[in-house]
């Protein structure tokens, strides 16, 4: 992330209601300049609603959103110069070549003709789409079209990019390209808000993430902090030689071990949830070894962004959420795991 950490995009109590349905409820986002913000949520969680409000296409029912010091509801014309919006499924024109498509949107953003041509070359270079210049837009593959879409979004050199599911429907190679492209843009000083449900991809390129569920932001902050704040119990894995029964008995007997997750007798592997610090872990290891368990490996399994997302949205995963399944009293998920980076 850029060292310049002034806030480029901020929402305060942003809400959107459709009659009785709350599409977005009291959203408070804070995204520094030059960072990539990954916006995660199920289909219908409120991601597109947020992005459309930020792009000036939708009116918020309450709250406000400020981009680069401009309130999105009051000065739409300035906002348009500042923001580049790429929808999930954007339309293209039939019978139009790629360069004509970019020229049209360049003219629509009132870029003077002589600058437009130069700008077109720049976005062709950034997005690697120069070779498509004379192709018809409606004949391009999905991956090519996404590149052209990003090129269109960049034509007026916006400071903030709002990308709604840009990797949706792309093959693995194209997804990697798109990921690198987004990172490149952030490195060039753009502030990027990118929504996706392909979580591992966001984890690798995002400086910050926000997890939204049923219109409510559940957590936001740097990836590792969000994950660790959500997963208060550590997931441990032990691989042991011989019978696992004694290891299982010792773990279940220990009060610090909240839950036995899974076991694989063939591999001799057990996974369990553990509450405690490093010293407690060392003590646990000693208990196991003292109980005659032939420990081969004893390690903590890092939780992924996907695990955190699934935990917050209340879905079961291969690593289920402790709160959801334990009998202990539960606490609400943190509304904001950390401050901004």
């Amino acid at each position: 992330m850029s060292q310049n950490s002034d806030i480029m995009l901020k929402t305060e109590g942003l809400s959107k209601h459709y009659d009785e349905i709350k599409a977005l409820d009291d959203l408070n986002l804070s995204i520094p300049r030059g960072s990539v913000f990954g916006y995660i949520g199920h289909n219908g969680a409120g991601k597109t609603t947020t992005i459309r409000i930020l792009a000036g296409l939708l009116k918020a029912s309450a709250g406000r959103a400020i981009i680069g010091g401009i309130d999105v509801t009051t000065d739409r014309d300035k906002l348009k110069s500042l923001v580049g919006y790429m929808p999930d499924d954007f339309g293209v024109y039939e019978q139009m070549r790629v360069w004509e498509y970019l020229d049209f949107f360049g003219a629509a953003f009132k870029i003077p003709r002589r600058h437009r041509r130069q700008r077109m070359e720049e976005v062709f270079e950034i997005t690697g789409s120069a070779y498509m210049r004379d192709r018809f837009v409606d004949t391009l593959s999905k991956g090519m079209r996404q590149r052209v879409g990003l090129a269109r979004t960049l034509m007026h050199d916006p400071q903030v990019l709002l990308l709604d599911e840009p990797a949706n429907g792309l093959d693995p190679r194209a997804r990697i390209d798109m990921r690198n492209l987004i990172r490149l843009l952030a490195d060039r000083g753009k502030t990027v808000l990118v929504s996706s449900h392909i979580l591992p991809e966001l984890a690798t390129i995002c400086d910050l993430v926000g997890i939204i569920h049923q219109g409510v932001l559940q957590a936001q902050g740097p990836v590792d902090q969000v994950v660790s704040a959500i997963a208060r119990d550590r997931l441990m894995e032990i691989k042991a030689g011989g019978d696992l029964a004694s290891a299982k008995r010792l773990i279940q007997a220990d009060a610090r071990c909240s839950k036995l997750d899974e076991e694989d007798q063939n591999l001799g592997v057990l996974r369990f949830r553990f509450k405690g610090d490093e010293a407690a872990l060392a003590d646990m290891l000693a208990v196991l070894m003292g109980g005659g368990v032939k420990v081969v490996t004893f390690r903590e399994v890092p939780l992924s962004l996907e695990d955190a997302f699934m935990a917050l949205s209340g879905m079961s995963t291969s690593v289920p959420d402790t709160e959801a399944e334990s009998d202990e009293p539960t606490e609400p998920a943190p509304s904001s795991a950390t401050g901004s980076a």
């Binding site: 409000i53 792009a55 000036g56 296409l57 939708l58 009116k59 509801t73 739409r76 014309d77 348009k80 110069s81 923001v83 580049g84 919006y85 929808p87 499924d89 954007f90 339309g91 293209v92 024109y93 039939e94 019978q95 139009m96 070549r97 004509e100 020229d103 049209f104 949107f105 360049g106 003219a107 629509a108 953003f109 009132k110 003077p112 003709r113 437009r116 041509r117 004379d134 192709r135 018809f136 004949t139 269109r152 007026h156």
Partner: protein, 567 residues
Amino acid sequence: MSNPILRKEVLTSLRTRKALAMQVVYLLALIAVVFMLWPPGGMQSLGGDQAQRLLAVLGIGQLLLIALFAPAFTSTALTLEKERNTFESLFATRLSPAQIVVGKMGGSLTFLLLLVVMGTPVLASLFLLGGVRGGQVLAVLGVLVVTALFLGAIGLLVSAMMHRSYRSIIMTYGILLVVTILLAMPAWPATGQLMLKAGPVGSKVLGVLASLSPLQAMLSVVVPDSSYATPAKGLPPYWQLYLPMAAVVFVVVGGFLLARLQRPFQPQRPRERLKVVERGQISARTFFFLFDPAKRKPAIRFWQNVVAMKEFRTRPVLQVQWLLRATGIALIVSILLMFMVTLTVGQLVQEGPALIAKMLAVVAGLQILLIILIGPAMSSGSICSDRETSVWDLMNTSRIRSWTIVSGKFQASIVPLLLLIVATTPALLILMVFPAFMGHGVDEGLAPRITRVLMVTGMTSLFVTVLGMFFSAMCSRTAAATAWTYGMVGIVSVATLLVMLGPDLFSDEFKAAVFVPNAIAAALDAAGLETFQQFSLFNAHLKLIATVTVGLFLATVVRVWQLRRPV
């Protein structure tokens, strides 16, 4: 209802509030017609004139309703499936093409047939007046039902062949216009009964063709003793020819449809024209084009309307090479037609100015017909097609203003119509030359009449374009906007002419009021045709249409501004 498509279509078409509203409005309209035309105190002449008049109005009214709405329902039945990407899923099921056809046809026509059934008690009420035979009412119902099937099958066939709904609607309405009106016209006294003057073979051919017109069939039922009733002496009335012929066409079209749906997925033609000719580069092909389509286009200039430029570059019919070719063809055809008509008729010497007036009327009517046929196709998709493809959102995040969008779309829609007028105008100008050429003096009144005709055609172009844009802004689907525009233009410019068919059915005051918005009537008045000159339509028409056009244009601007606001 074992056919799942039929069940789905019927359920989805009948459960909407719009369907209920249409049924209520339809019934209220029928009741209003009966109320207005019912004889006071239930007394009528012994000849049953009032009952016949009511039957004529109800029969023709219901037929027009079916003719206007059957294509709108059926011509999008399969294209909408294609646009929603559900067409392949349909064929991946165990349903046979025949089941799909029956389901789609039944689903599309159920609502219309329901309207016909709902109108039956109103038709039956005519028995209270006397003077109407049971067989006559049954014939009216038969023509209505067969017409729904006949036109529905045509709409469905077009829908199977096209990929986009609005193109399908345009094509279907084009065919509808030919089948319903143009085929019948040679048989009408109002057009001089060309059929009787076409010689023995020609009259038979025209008679058979006229028998395919549902309008002619209905006229022969509701005006049985007039010259509209039979193609020639000794032959049965039109409706008796129409019913079996329409049934045959229905079966043949159904067969084509089934054959087409056996192989519903044709591979797309490869896109050519990927080659780009750089500006300034001269090659052999340069000499074949006035505007080479492959030549690299210049970037949009600051004084150009970006939306208009986009439209001209993306819509095939608006690309320069096609516009020029179409204009050229129209120009050549119009000049040739005038030469042929003038030279072959050979009546100019005898009739002189009278014939010139008739020819002016023919050209004026042709111009208006072309405008109302082509105009809606140019403008009715202008705004909603962008909304359908999400391009609207992209434009809304740009700095384009609402006015730029409206004026750009307007320019792109009106240019083809203006070119059409320009291309057909030489045919009008030739009329000024011929009298002198044939030895008659110059007709001083001809130039003003030509000017008035051009004013009407120009105003009609503006009206049709703005009407299409208005519906395009109001509807979210291009198919709906196209159907509304054609429906409205059809009612204003074609349906109102039907009052001419029964000379005694309507008063002159009523006819004059109905003709005021009618562009064809106004153009014929401007051309000097006596039949219409008695109503003095020209000034009233221009004032009315200009006012309506300005109102619609302002409403369109406001609607576009509304659509661009965040909601």
